[in-house]
């Protein structure tokens, strides 16, 4: 039933050069009191340098588990994550994460500027360079004059911009984004999507973007990886062959966009019942 889907992955991999980020046979099982919960069964994919890859899946697909394993915040039960040739065992220095809960990921006792500066300090970036990075990153998200404000004085969209600025200033090889725009209004969301693409193209970063929103994934990504419901596997790695210049209205109304969205949509629908034919998990004695 899945043979053809999985075959299509090889084609994309072949096109995208050596992987900067390599996820190999990743598994994650949680030990509950009386049984084992298999959250991630087998994830294997690579993200090439400078790529923007999106991951979509039905809710409960273990997207956050996957992202935390990639970020080194959670130890996988099996398999490995390799970043720039080195296996990830803890949070790597050349990776930054933008979380969904912007209100809980900025330090409320620090100003915007201090929030961006702290990771750089930790990385022992010289003082002058730090000031430059803070100013540049704030300017790049359009918040140059909010440096002295506290996060809670800003709107939700602005707070997420600060979190993005902090990640960008860190100059990571890979930027992970965990449903970063799920909690902002539609207008802000569109703006932040365009900001993400703009920063990605300008700075040549590698971005792994996790979302539950199919349209968002198609609009943003060069590739979309579709995950199954838990226990998670990759059911398709779809190339998004839209032009590199994307614009909210024109791109979203293009016929090719509609086709791709329909394709991913049907995959996600299938993803929900992907394991229904599997033998039922038997609780351990």
């Amino acid at each position: 039933m899945t043979g053809t889907d999985i075959a299509s992955r090889g084609a994309v991999d072949g096109a995208s050069g050596p992987a900067l980020l390599d996820v190999r046979g990743l598994t994650k099982t949680y030990q509950a009191a009386d049984r084992t919960v298999e959250a991630v069964r087998d994830l294997t994919f690579g993200v090439g340098a400078g790529e923007l890859a999106c991951i979509v899946g039905p809710s409960g697909a273990g997207k956050t588990t996957l992202l935390k394993c990639v970020a080194g915040l959670l130890a996988p039960s099996g398999g490995e994550v390799v970043l720039e040739g080195r296996p990830v065992h803890g949070p790597p220095e050349n990776m930054a994460v933008v979380f969904q809960e912007y209100g809980r990921s900025l330090f409320p006792w620090m100003t915007v500027e201090q929030n961006i500066d702290l990771p750089l300090r930790q990385k022992k970036v010289p003082k002058r360079r730090r000031a430059e990075l803070v100013a540049e990153s704030l300017a790049s998200v359009g918040l140059a004059d909010a440096a002295g404000a506290y996060p809670w004085q800003l709107s939700g969209g602005m707070q997420q911009r600060v979190a993005i600025a902090r990640a960008v200033a860190y100059e990571p090889a890979v930027l992970l984004m965990d449903e970063p725009f799920a909690a902002v209004d539609a207008q802000t969301r569109a703006e932040l999507e365009d900001l993400t693409r703009e920063l990605w193209r300008r700075l040549g970063m590698t971005v792994l973007f996790v979302t539950h929103d199919i349209e968002e994934a198609v609009y943003l990504g060069q590739r979309v990886l579709v995950l199954s419901a838990a226990p998670t596997v990759v059911i398709e790695d779809a190339a998004i062959d839209l032009p590199a210049e994307r614009e909210q209205l024109a791109t979203r109304s293009a016929p090719r966009f509609a086709e791709l969205r329909a394709h991913i949509y049907s995959l996600v629908q299938r993803a929900k019942t992907y394991h229904d034919g599997d033998p039922v998990e038997v609780p351990r004695p």
Binding site: K68, A71, G72, L73, P91, E93, M95, A96, V97, F99, E101, R104, S105, F107, P108, W109, L118, P119, Q122, K123, Y150, W152, Q153, Y170
Partner: protein
């Protein structure tokens, strides 16, 4: 100009009731001939004579120094152990019953015991203050550390904040609201223990002096000592308020912002 006016109005609000109470006290005791409740003006005139003729250095200063040392010790020990307990679930589970027990022991009970080990000097008094007033700091710190937001903790970790930097930049600021609450409670306990420890066995200090006056039937002087203690407590509480609003400015601002949105 406006801030001056606002300051004056605040001071007015702050002082209106104390002024009224003092006036009542004055009026009620003005013609008093009761030996134990002398007129307030007698107490006030005793106040100047009693405290501004050398006792400020001989008795008030030692008290304040013991209080400062004991309070600082209580905060240091409370925050230290609190962070340890709050950070490790196992330590917390193991320590909880013991903590509940020690917290339930009334601190003055420690005085006779400590006198056996540490004598009757400053060490005993400071130890009593530390052991008695560290509990609210300890328990509140542990609670604050335990409640650190996990997204914030993940963020800190992903940006390489570990060890001392994590403690300084994440754990302590994040638990600061609870720590400060504990410190406020500890302050009043410290003052009480300072006085009590000096009443037991001492040769200087506010508690000692007040007991001396009482034993010598120097009633107006005794009352003036009580008044001075009240003033000391009030001044420390004001000082603490300023410290609190400085340290927790972000916390109050954020709470107001959140309330405004919902």
């Amino acid at each position: 100009m406006r801030t001056v006016l606002r300051g004056a109005r605040r001071a007015g609000h702050l002082l209106a009731l104390p002024a009224l109470l003092l006036a009542l006290w004055w009026a009620a005791t003005a013609r008093s001939t009761d030996f134990y409740f002398p007129p307030l003006h007698t107490i006030l005139s005793a106040f100047g004579k009693t405290w501004f003729s050398g006792r400020l250095v001989a008795d008030v200063l030692p008290s304040v120094l013991r209080l400062a040392a004991g309070y600082a010790g209580a905060v240091a020990v409370g925050v230290g152990i609190g962070v340890l307990i709050g950070s490790h679930r196992r330590v917390r589970l193991a320590a909880e019953p013991v903590l509940e027990f020690f917290r339930a022991v009334p601190p003055p009970v420690l005085i006779p015991v400590l006198m056996l080990f540490t004598g009757i000097g400053d060490t005993m008094k400071i130890t009593v203050i530390v052991l008695g007033s560290m509990w609210p700091v300890l328990l509140n710190t542990a609670e604050g550390v335990r409640a650190i937001d996990d997204v914030l903790a993940d963020t800190a970790r992903s940006y390489g904040l570990t060890g001392a930097a994590r403690l300084r930049r994440l754990v302590l600021p994040s638990a600061a609201p609870q720590i400060v609450t504990g410190m406020r409670q500890a302050l009043s306990i410290s003052i009480i223990l300072m006085v009590i420890s000096e009443m037991f066995a001492s040769s200087s200090g506010l508690g000692y002096t007040i007991v001396q006056f009482q034993r010598g039937f120097a009633v107006p002087e005794m009352w003036s000592g009580i008044l001075l203690l009240g003033l000391l407590g009030f001044a420390l509480s004001l000082l603490f308020g300023r410290f609190e609003s400085r340290v927790l400015r972000w916390h109050r601002g954020r709470r107001q912002a959140q309330r405004g949105k919902s």
